[in-house]
Amino acid sequence: MFPQDVSVNGHMVDDLFWLTTALIGVTFLIIVGILIYCSFRFRERPGHKAVYRKGDTKRSTILTLIFAAVVFIGLDLNLAYFDHHAFKALLGSPPTEDEAVVIDIHAQQYQWNFRYAGADGVFGESHDDLVDKENNFFGLDRENDEAAADDLESIAEVAIPVNTPILFKITSNDVLHSFFPVNFRLKMDALPGTETWMYIEATETGTFEIACAELCGLNHYTMRAELKVMEQEDYEAWLDELAEGLADEGDDY
């Protein structure tokens, strides 16, 4: 059924799903039950005559209204209540930027680009006009912007520490994409020119997958990234490796 859930709040999506399944399952069985019963009990045969009933009496009207109220309260409001409850946890209470590890995502055709703030903890400003889909995914001015100089970038691979709130800031360099970390039960569109966000907290270490869920062109189906959930120390080592890579690149200039 569902893929493995490795997040703090993801189980609420599953719970809501199963609650909905229970409610609509009962409704469905009632409908099909009556359908099958009628097909046998009220089929045309010699000696059986249909009753003449239009359902336009006052009694029918009242019963219909009661039925409507039952559907609205029993099914609709019930589900809306649990949806709201899950919503507050999953989408409604984002961590502040101080509490969370912030990761900036610039999606572009067929690849996910991730950025960490680096040693200074501050993201360099992203300039739309500097964005270059081959050399400068985040539109950074590394030479003149101090905050940008140590920003760490990673393509199609992102590491996060376990049991820590993570805040993704998501945008796009070209068309719409949708950031879909399957094992966290969430999805958020990447829109050029607008920043959306998503927060998650992992409960297990391991390598998981991120899919693109919004049609973005001919290689949409290949737009995959890996999400590595690590212990804190492994995560720091991973960041150090990125920083070394950045330093080597700097030497080339």
Binding site: C38, F42, R53, T61, A80, F87, D128, D174, A213, Y221
Partner: protein
Amino acid sequence: MKQSYRLINNAERKCEAYYTMSGHDHHEHKHGFIRTYLFSLDHKMIGKQYLFLGLFFLLLAGGMAMMIRWQLMYPFDTEHPFPILGKLFFGKEMTTMPPEFYNMLFTMHGSLMIFFAVTPIVIGAFGNFIIPLQIGAPDMAFPKLNMMSFWTIFLGGVIMIASFFVKAGAAQGGWTAYAPLNSNAVNLPDLGTSLWILAIYLGGSSSLMGSINFVTTVLNMRCEGMTLTRVPLTTWGLFFTAILNILWIPVISAGLFLMLIDRTFDTNFFLAGPPAHYEGGQPLLYQHLFWGFGHPEVYILIFPVWGIVGDLLSVFSRKPAFGYEATLISMASIVCVSEVIWGHHMFTSGMSPILGHVFVILTITVSVPTAIFFLNWLCTLWGGAIRFEPPMLFALGIVFVFSIGGLTGLYLALQVADMYLHDTYFVVGHFHYTLAASVFFGAFAGIYYWFPAMFGRRLNKKWGIAHFILSFIFINCVFFSMMQMGIMGHPRRYASAEKYQFLMSSGVMEWTKFAGWSAMALGMTQIIFVVNFFGSMFFGRKSETNPWHAASLEWTVEHPIPHGNFAQAPVVFRGPHEFSSPQTEDLDRDWLTQVEPDPAT
């Protein structure tokens, strides 16, 4: 305003004038081939033209669906090219489908099915053929507009087909054609997408013309005694469809127009961020415009089917439609609500949480009128004497598949569940249950039911039953598997799932194979229908005037129904569903048509 009044009065006057005219029943013989079969002004011929157009595109787009499923069963597998056509399309050496071809297939499958198969059959064919007959009118209010509406959608269809032959092929950006993938010419530079926009535009114009005709006809050309509460449910469904069309087609037209000039003149309506030329554009604007039309479109397509189900369950249960007025009120309330719930398509677009909540509540409110439909349908069956003719089987099938389609909509109406299920195969399964299974069962129910009125012959009953049973089994196999794949997390519009470990290790391929072979079987099953349809049209058993013992007006005229429909203006005495009424006790039949006076007591 004044002018439109005059127009409507004209329609009324024409209606009266028609019947006072003498010798009009020999009218049609004066026309030559072209005026009778091509540029006909007769609503019945236009209805049939729509039917053939729709069936043609249904076969074409259905074939594309089979190619889509094949690609997913054997992604990029050179050992298993698509049977017969694979070599033709991709050459002898390269037997696999390139991903852009796959994208083109699902884009064109969706667009053709919705705008050129469902719309012409369910709205164009049934609407034109049935509305004037059911309300006792000699023709549509504006016959020339009616003819023009057919030839406009025909032109749209020609452009759609032509777009396959331009460089880089037809549109590839999804039937929703989201910006900026489609609006920025950098992404899809070739002509295909622009032609697609043009064709949808023409299809929309055609629907608008048709809808103005439907609304005017229903409101002004009802015969004497045909009060609004005596109009059959099918006509009511088509009437509500027409109202939604008139309200919302201009919205998508505006969106598509902006997209077309974005593409061709480098304007910037739907561009923001790095690719933008200037400031001030916004890709989300397109989504609002699209779904502002796109969600009512769901009801546009399903209203006629709801009407058909209501009428057919009544006719074949030999009982009046239960809660006729409650059904009408429910339909009308859905017309109102359908216009304010488009946001549930955009829960993942980063919309404000409060706005999201509003859309959740509004969306699930739709389940109340929908539940009343089910209540009325089941109460119509209860206590009836059910005849299992092919149209009735399809109507019962709709109650089943639409219950699945409608109920699974609840998951997607909930913001949190939608965060996971959005843009996965779950959504695809859900909307195929409503738009494919329910609507095409409605189309088949209607075709089996009105075939005698259209062609004066009966479709073969045994083959009809076989067609229903096989279609019912396979359609459920296909779309239920899709929902299962969606729960496993399979995103839609993927040419292959092979890159993803979580999918390949979860057994999603078994479901894909099952859905794929079921889709092949479903496609093959339709051969039964095609043979039955064309065979019966020429060689079928001749039908009597009222083969189903129905009560509405279209069954009171003899075949072939002449130009002008009724020899004299009919006068209506009662509602459309008078079956098994106490008044028929002394008769040797159990129905009273709308036009006969009360039997002497």
